[in-house]
Amino acid sequence: MIAPDIEPIVARYHAGRRDALIPLLQEVQTSCGYLSREAVVRIGQHLRLPASKVYGVATFYNQFRFQPLGRYHVQVCRGTACHVKKSQQTLTALQRTLNIKPGQTSRDGLFSLEVVACLGACGLAPLVAVNGEFHAGATPDVVNRLVRNIRKEAKVK
């Protein structure tokens, strides 16, 4: 996939303004789905910050990812209610079956995994969202079945 051009976004921010770093990172991620190496270096050049600093700030926040989104973006809620309902086991199950860690994308580009603090539907805990669609009561069994179905579906397509 060819990354979308970030120049128009970068150009909207004053060069050398450190305080623009986080908004700029957010906007680039919204546009590209993730922060590529090129984007990190380019943003650093524009704001006159070392790439190590840009990367350091970006890794501080959970919201930034450094791999492109998969076709199916899986968000696992690790908020309080979901935690009580054993969402850790759900996350472990997903990491195992997808063979990736949160923030990563599977090699075939099918899945990406993200941990979120709360999806705001605590009554449905433990909760998982796939491309924004909620799956309530997402126990390890449920998510394993879900992943199997998606894989089957993807093969047919």
Partner: protein, 572 residues
């Protein structure tokens, strides 16, 4: 104003911290992250003290001294807090002190001993970490890192490079280059200042001791060694001698006893560098060349320009550094003179510097697929090697370096201190332009520890603006002025490390500002007392030109002693 520390009255000035006031009063409060000269970061919390009226313990490094303040630095509560901090650091630290390069000179180890840590109170998983061994100069072992952040600060705030930073958050925080990659692909310039400030063994130089020992043990190899101008005035500290003691003679003896076939003095090629560089400057001045000309003997600085100021690459002198000049003449002139195949020569350089390891590996620093320098040892590694062979530097008789590259003038020796190259270059430039050496050789304006020193010299009726910067943050200031159009400078000397090679990243770790000053002073004393103080008067250099190189900037000189630079992307 007066405050009270441990029941004693202590004087302080406005702007002082409690830590600063206590230190001056002889009260030692331990710290791991304090960096003299930079604003406090308060990262390690080791300097916590009790201040009357404050609810909790406060970090003394960041707490302003105020009149009437009542401070307890070593109350039971403060000492217990420190001990707990050390215990927590140790809980996430590999237990391999005996195998650690910093064994016996580790601040964490010292603190554990000082605070009487004798039992383990905390058990738990350790943060997984991968060693970074990809750099030719520096090894990073994040497992040993205590996250004090001194390396990050020296890299960004002193050197203006910013190759490393904190990555991640909370218990997953680590220090590393962008994208969690190796230093070799970062914008690291290999200066090793991070190694010099690291309180533990998380940053050390890439060791070359074993390669050197293997070469020394191989009867087929002729092992040649050179030592840099600043090494003889700093090595002493590794052997318990006073900072600033010049051990040049005993050092040469030690190197011979280690089995080096030829011992040369890098100050010889520092003189040679001056011949070439002063000639280049005179040529640029006379023929409208690119000015200001900038020195090129500090390899960290060279990479800095290649990365961040590629537009100013034509300003860099094309001269190789003294290390590489000596490497080049050893494998050409000396090999021919003694009639051996250069492949049999193993050329070692003892340097105050970690970037010299990188420089030695630059592809253009050799010929016919052979590098001119085969291994670079830091001052610390040289000391380790000498100790390994059971030699006591303090008890060795002096000896002199070998001809043909052993003779040096004190001008070459001055290379070890910031401003020294400029001073030496002016002596010879004056001679080249007027035909005589000036009577007063010393240029006080270019001496000392100031980050930027400027001087206006008048040579043969022409005024030459000279600046000497040390510490790349200071160099950056001058480069920005040049970019903005400053025109009154013709010659700029830059040393990567603040103070010059005497404070290099490969030097003994005792480098307090006082020790650096003492090392610098030792070089000035050598210069004051020397019989021959200008590079063009070095008979060895004159002979080398007569027999081999013809004259400065000759075809042969260009082939062997000059180099080229490349534009580099700051992060590859």
């Amino acid at each position: 104003m007066t405050l009270e520390i441990n029941g004693r009255k202590v004087e302080a000035q406005h702007g002082d911290t409690v830590l600063g006031a206590a230190r001056r009063a002889g009260i030692r409060i331990p710290t791991l992250c304090h960096y003299e000269g930079l604003p406090p970061s308060g990262a390690c919390r080791m300097c916590v003290v009790e201040v009357e009226g404050q609810r909790g313990l406060v970090p003394s490094c960041a707490f302003p001294a105020a009149a009437g303040l009542k401070v307890q630095t070593h109350s039971a509560r403060a000492v217990d807090a420190r001990r707990t901090l050390v215990e927590l650091l140790l809980a996430n630290h590999p237990d391999d002190c005996l195998y650690c390069a910093r064994n016996n000179e580790c601040q964490l180890q010292d603190l554990a001993a000082q605070l009487g840590v004798r039992r383990r109170h905390y058990f738990g998983g350790r943060t997984p970490a991968r060693m970074d061994v990809a750099s030719p100069s520096i090894v990073r072992d994040p497992a040993k890192c205590i996250l004090c952040g001194k390396c990050v600060r020296v890299c960004e705030e002193v050197q203006a490079v910013g190759a490393i930073d904190f990555i991640g958050r909370g218990s997953k925080t680590r220090i590393g280059p962008a994208f969690d990659e190796g230093l070799n692909v970062s914008s690291c310039i290999n200066c090793g200042q991070c190694v010099a400030v690291c309180p533990v063994g998380a940053l050390i130089e890439t060791r070359a001791i074993d390669e050197v020992r293997a070469a020394l043990a191989d009867p087929k190899q002729i092992v040649v060694v050179q030592h840099a101008p600043s090494v003889s005035v700093s090595l002493a500290e590794e052997f318990g001698l006073k900072p600033g003691t010049d051990v040049d003679g005993p050092f040469v003896t030690a190197l011979r006893r280690l089995g080096f076939a030829w011992v040369f003095d890098t100050a010889f090629t520092a003189d040679l560098t001056i011949m070439e560089e002063a000639s280049e400057l005179a040529h640029r001045l006379a023929h409208g060349g690119v000015l200001p000309m900038m020195t090129s003997c500090s390899p960290g600085w060279v990479k800095f320009v290649e990365q961040f100021y590629p537009d100013l690459l034509p300003n860099l002198s094309t001269c190789k550094s003294p290390q590489q000049m000596l490497g080049a003449v050893v494998k050409t002139f000396l090999a021919g003179r003694i009639g051996v195949d250069p492949d049999r020569i193993f050329s070692v350089a003892i340097m105050p510097c970690t970037a010299k390891k990188f420089e030695a590996g630059r592809p253009e620093m050799g010929r016919d697929g052979r590098q001119d320098i085969d291994a670079v040892l830091t001052t610390r590694e040289a000391a380790e090697l000498i100790r390994m062979y059971g030699l006591d530097l303090a008890a060795l008789p002096p000896d002199a370096a070998d001809t043909p590259f052993g003779e040096r003038t004190s001008a070459g020796k001055l290379f070890g201190a910031s401003g020294g190259v400029a001073e030496a270059a002016l002596r010879t430039a004056h001679y080249l332009l007027t035909g005589h050496t000036p009577d007063d050789l010393k240029i006080q304006a270019l001496r000392g520890l100031d980050g930027i020193k400027e001087y206006r010299a008048t040579v043969a009726g022409t005024e030459i603006g000279v600046a000497a910067a040390s510490g790349l943050g200071n160099a950056r200031k001058i480069l920005e002025q040049i970019r903005a159009g400053r025109k009154d400078l013709q010659f700029i000397e830059v040393m990567s490390c603040a103070g010059g090679c005497v404070a290099g990243g490969g030097q003994p770790r005792s480098a307090s500002p006082d020790a650096v000053r003492a090392r610098m002073h030792a070089l000035y004393v050598i210069d004051r007392d020397a019989a021959v103080r200008a590079s063009h008067e070095n008979p060895g250099v004159q002979r080398l030109y007569a027999e081999f190189l013809e004259k400065p900037l000759s075809h042969k000189s260009h082939e062997l002693l000059h180099t080229r630079y490349e534009r580099r992307a700051p992060v590859m």
